[in-house]
């Protein structure tokens, strides 16, 4: 693997090795560019992933505490951990559950479709649906998504049998084992899913697509990738013309270093990306880099999330099988008769026993609380994943109380739920309950709000530089050679798990970068 010189200003720097950064590294290196890819965490592999849920959590997760405010549920349920994402080579694709639904056309026209809803900052995406769809198809082929392009669907697990029986009785039509970036067959040099669970602990057979097992090794094979793991970027610097010129980082030994760059692409996720931009303030950019619009950090979305558990008289053994191998799609529509705008997915879900009381249950203790866990063997589960509406004051700022290991402020997350989010959750919980009761559940339990696993919206793209941080290709309006390459650019959240869209936008961004470089306009 090459080691590019710190003063080599011909390299592209990418910050973050997850869905966005890892894929972009592959796309740019295969086009002949030299890339330095920074990852704050260490590198693991199928051989090193722990199969103890608690150990795996500590092995993969970004554990640094953050501060929080607002009325969102995680302020109570997870006060120092509003977001649950990874700090390891491959980023959050190492622990994702690999559901890859597409956004619907109405969702990328949220402002036009939903109207002017008070208390929100709804916007339309600056991209046409047919173009997005073209990139979706390319990404689905790349990942080998099940039920797409001739790839077989996942076989039905016990947990899905319960969901399917209940959903059909409740009148739902679009119910299947989900679109998953998990091999249902040996494919692309990777193994098949052996239904072992533990998707969120890293996949021991590499059946699950991640940048760790696909994009990054392929970028390395070009001979043009310099991957620097355990290196945390703390600042992006610019030159006198206002172009990004270097990144400052702490290397694995904690020593401060400076890597020069021709191009900087930030893919730290929608919590860490705005944090880095805000920490990169300067005399020229007093409110943070590329933040003349004031939109950096704002409009933070993370989906309306929550578990629904059905408790039955007979065993389900939900821990056996791929975690998210099931979905009810019928509610992913905009139907105002339900009392809210936007829609949601009901996705099959389970958590391992040790994790259940930590993120899966409502607050409680005593007999009633314990009786839920007593029924672990007889539980079936699903996860509500609904569209939350962007709000200007739901935002990432720099914490005034917490600092990281190097003395830099960690992210502060402020989140107030919109009444629409509350109404959507209530509806989704009632529908989840209907499904399980139709299947014969004797009891249905709703979780509290778990930490956010989907981060979106904090550097939104827009045609108008006054209304967003980047252009429709993720290029920042103010700093011409600075790109945002993760879910931060989403103007709204939709109800789709974001990874498929992140990777699709990054494939499109790579093509744009190639075009602009060739034209001499970058």
């Amino acid at each position: 693997m090459p080691q590019f010189d710190l003063k080599d200003s011909s390299v592209v720097v990418i910050v973050g090795s997850g869905a966005g950064g890892g894929t972009l590294a592959h796309e740019l290196t295969r086009r002949g560019l030299k890339v330095v890819l920074f990852e704050a965490g260490p590198r693991q592999s199928a051989a090193t992933f722990s199969q103890n849920p608690g150990e795996a959590f500590r092995q993969l997760t970004w554990l640094e505490p953050r501060s929080q405010s607002g009325n969102w549920g995680a302020v109570q349920t997870a006060p120092t951990m509003p977001a649950w994402h990874c700090r390891t080579v491959g980023g959050t694709t190492v622990h994702w559950t690999a559901a890859t639904p597409r956004l619907q056309q109405y969702e990328i026209r949220a402002r036009s479709t939903y109207g002017d809803i008070p208390g929100t900052s709804l916007a339309d995406w600056p991209i046409e649906y047919p173009e997005l769809k073209r990139w979706y198809i390319a990404t689905e082929k790349r990942m080998g998504v099940t039920r797409r392009n001739g790839n077989p669907g996942m076989p039905a697990s016990n947990n899905f049998k319960v969901m399917y029986a209940g959903a059909r009785k409740a009148g739902y039509k679009r119910v299947h084992t989900n679109y998953l970036a998990i091999n249902s067959r040996v494919r692309d040099g990777r193994g098949l899913c052996i239904q072992q669970g533990f998707c969120t602990s890293g996949c021991k057979t590499d059946a699950k697509w991640s940048t760790l097992v696909t994009e990054i090794p392929r970028a390395e094979a070009t001979g043009r990738l310099d991957l620097r793991s355990k290196c945390l970027v703390t600042r992006i610097e610019h030159d006198a013309k206002g172009r990004a010129s270097a990144v400052v980082y702490r290397d694995a030994a904690g020593v401060e270093q400076r890597q020069q760059a021709r191009l900087v692409c930030v893919a730290g996720n929608a919590v860490e990306t705005p944090r880095l931009l805000l920490m990169s303030e300067s005399a020229r950019f007093p409110h943070g880099l590329a933040n003349g619009s004031g939109q950096v950090g704002r409009n933070y979305c993370h989906h309306v999330l929550g578990f629904v558990w059905g408790i039955f008289d007979q065993p389900v053994s939900m821990w056996r099988g791929a975690v998210l191998a099931g979905v009810i799609e019928d509610e992913n529509v905009d139907n105002r008769q339900r009392g809210f705008v936007g829609g949601y997915h009901l996705e099959l879900a389970m958590v391992e026993l040790p994790t259940l009381p930590l993120i899966g249950l409502p607050y409680g203790w005593g007999r009633d609380f314990s009786s839920i866990i007593d029924n672990y063997r007889n539980m079936a589960g699903m996860l509500i994943n609904g569209e939350d509406l962007p709000r200007p004051d739901n935002r990432i700022t720099l914490s005034s109380t917490l600092k990281d290991a190097f003395g830099n402020p960690t992210a502060h997350v402020h989140c107030d739920e919109h009444p629409n989010d509350v109404a959507l959750r209530k509806h989704a919980q009632a529908q989840g309950k209907r499904v399980y009761e139709a299947a014969g559940a004797k009891r249905v339990v709703f979780s509290g709000t778990p930490p956010a696993t989907h981060q979106m919206g904090t550097a939104r793209m827009s045609h108008d530089p006054a209304l967003g941080v980047t252009n429709p290709f993720g290029r920042t309006h103010e700093v011409p050679n600075l790109f945002i390459s993760d879910g931060s650019v989403f103007p709204t959240a939709g109800a789709a798990n974001p990874t498929l869209t992140i990777v699709s936008l990054v494939l499109r961004q790579a093509e744009y970068i190639e075009r602009e470089l060739a034209a001499g306009t970058l």
Binding site: Q51, N52, P53, G54, T146, R147, P152, G153, M154, P155, A156, S157, N158, F160, K161, V162, Y164, A165, V175, H176, T177, S184, R185, L192, C193, I194, Q195, Q196, G197, F198, K204, T205, Q314, P315, V316, S317, W319, R320, G321, E352, L353, P354, L356, P357, L358, W365, G366, R367, F369, S370, I373, D374, Y376, R377, A439
Partner: protein
């Protein structure tokens, strides 16, 4: 179980530094009885007295009552709380005063009285730290896994693909159009 068996063997250190010891005997019906040599267990305390440890065990049983779950599992939580108490003067004071405030007869009281006593301190840092520690530790050990029927990791056994991920028979099978065929293995 490592924590338990290790501490029983380490008598010398116990004599030198322990503040108390919590002991028990695995139920003959426990699924672990077949797994461990000898059914007696002991956990040495580094900050709590034996009386405090016994009270704490009753607190944890009241927070998370599971019929038939062996005291040995609850003792793991006691040991974890004790380690916190041994970690610093502030947490030691917080935990020991919280335990002592429940009185010497807490462990012998009826469940309804124990629940009422804990309700009265529910918002205290003492109660909340013990509650969170219970959630973290009580379900993350082989004693609990055996009790609740959770099978845990299966990679080492080839996953659940051929070991029951789809063995549910009390509901109809899902049509192939909504799922997918078993892979040929």
């Amino acid at each position: 179980m490592n924590e338990l068996t290790h501490t029983t063997m380490n008598r010398r250190r116990f004599v030198q530094s322990a503040t108390g010891v919590l002991t028990g005997v695995l139920s003959a019906l426990s699924p672990l009885a077949a797994l461990v040599p000898g059914r007696a267990w002991a956990v040495e305390m580094r900050a709590l007295s034996a009386t405090q440890a016994a009270t704490l065990l009753a607190v944890i049983r009241t927070i998370a009552p599971h019929e038939g779950l062996d005291d040995a599992a609850y003792a793991l939580v006691v040991a974890a709380v004790d380690a916190d108490a041994a970690g610093g003067a502030d947490s030691r004071a917080m935990l020991t005063s919280g335990i002592d405030s429940l009185g010497p007869d807490f462990a012998k009281a009826a469940e309804a009285s124990r629940v009422a006593a804990l309700k009265a301190v529910e918002s205290s840092p003492f109660f909340q730290s013990v509650r969170v520690k219970t959630l973290l530790v009580l379900y993350d050990n082989p004693i609990a896994w055996a009790h609740f029927g959770y099978q845990g990791e299966a990679f080492s056994k080839g996953g659940y693909l051929l070991r029951g991920f789809n063995d549910l028979k009390w509901l109809p099978e899902v049509p192939l159009s909504a799922s997918g065929p078993m892979p040929v293995t």
